[in-house]
């Protein structure tokens, strides 16, 4: 998924808060010895009207590492602009 085509600033929500949780799923009904680490993220965004929404999702550790890498890149780019 490459960059979107010309979204208006109005069509985006402002990121207000970013919360994260590192969890470890130990066991489940299908796998007694699961040992699965994951990162859960909760975003708080405000749309143009000021309405605040929460979005949550889960990532595997490799996904999270990619996520972190992307945001590091964003931070690096934004400093140079």
């Amino acid at each position: 998924m490459e960059g979107s085509s010309e979204p208006l600033l109005d069509a985006k929500s402002k990121l207000l808060d970013f919360q994260w949780k590192l969890g470890m799923a130990v066991s489940s009904d299908s796998c007694r010895s699961l040992k699965y680490p994951y990162v859960a993220v909760m975003l708080k965004v405000a749309d143009d009207s000021g309405q605040v929404k929460k979005k949550s999702f889960e990532m595997t550790i490799p996904q999270f590492q990619n996520f972190y890498r992307q945001f590091k890149e964003i931070a690096a780019v934004i400093e140079t602009v």
């Binding site: 998924m1 979107s4 299908s30 699961l34």
Partner: protein
Amino acid sequence: MAGDLESSKALSGLLSGLAQDAFHGHPGITEELLRSQLYPEVPPEEFRPFLAKMRGILKSIASADMDFNQLEAFLTAQTKKQGGIASDQAAVISKFWKSHKTKIRESLMNQSRWDSGLRGLSWRVDGKSQSRHSAQIHTPVAIVELEIGKSGQVSKSPVRMYCSYPTLHIGKLGHGKVM
């Protein structure tokens, strides 16, 4: 089930089929399909308990996420017990688990993920942008689009958000390796 190359291949195929059904969520793998494809000469009433036994063994190994020591001990015990398995069958199962363990574990992890996952992330940085509703000029700003959804479901429309320079420091993550 004599110990020859053909029956090893058949058992390997059977384990693949069982894994597809039990772990990878592949539909339509019926008992009859497996029997007719892999053990056509075996009557259904004889095949059924054999299939159940193999399924049980595979599920036990996967559920305990056995390492190779545990696996050897477990399979040896299976060969020694009444109505257990033959040693050549144990060898096939061992080989199967060693080559499929990672993929099966991944599927089991996916099965236990019930919340939405991150399906896609794309971003761009704008130098200067102006909203038609506000006179304020936001500089500079990162626009991030997250595609969030549960597996097997169509994603809702992506979350598109922007954050300007200071905000990015909320997510300032620590240094060092994560796992």
